[in-house]
Amino acid sequence: GESVGLHLPTLSVQEGDNSIINCAYSNSASDYFIWYKQESGKGPQFIIDIRSNMDKRQGQRVTVLLNKTVKHLSLQIAATQPGDSAVYFCAENFWGSSGGYNKLIFGAGTRLAVHP
């Protein structure tokens, strides 16, 4: 079935280190992917997105890498800070009914814990 999964449910890092969160997706036809950050008691917050015609995209302290050959995404966070502690989701965009609507397919998430 359709799924977006994550390899590591929990990632612990030291403040200042770089973090890498990985994600596998199942639909080879997917053309758009998004990373979200969700803090306790809040909704998912958009971090960065990437389209399938790219293999890398950079934002402020974050980089997303896309490997379509193995259907793999990663989110790299540079100089991780305590405020980065949250659950991170990758989401795969799915187009339904000949493009009449789109939905996001989320994995279970990876919890990032940043220690001082």
């Binding site: 998004i34 989401a91 609507y101 996001l104 279970a108």
Partner: protein
Amino acid sequence: DAGVTQSPTHLIKTRGQHVTLRCSPISGHKSVSWYQQVLGQGPQFIFQYYEKEERGRGNFPDRFSARQFPNYSSELNVNALLLGDSALYLCASSSTVQQTAQHFGDGTRLSIL
């Protein structure tokens, strides 16, 4: 600018009751989607509305329904509540259906007793 706003933030109901959740999209956004997030899992798609029409529906029973108003706000209704309906209900908006960047509100936490 205000983001996606949802109300209420928390709600407690008993089995068999009915509930209505509300969402106001980001100003200028015409598409609203609803997701259900069970504790410890990623959000699951319920509906997408655009221009007051249902454009897509996820694998949820007919007890779940929604509508979108002329001002693009939306309501999610759930009838005959079950214990398993306890979850965080999230609303996301985007400019159009083709604009795929969806921005989420902070959700309504629904607890069924």
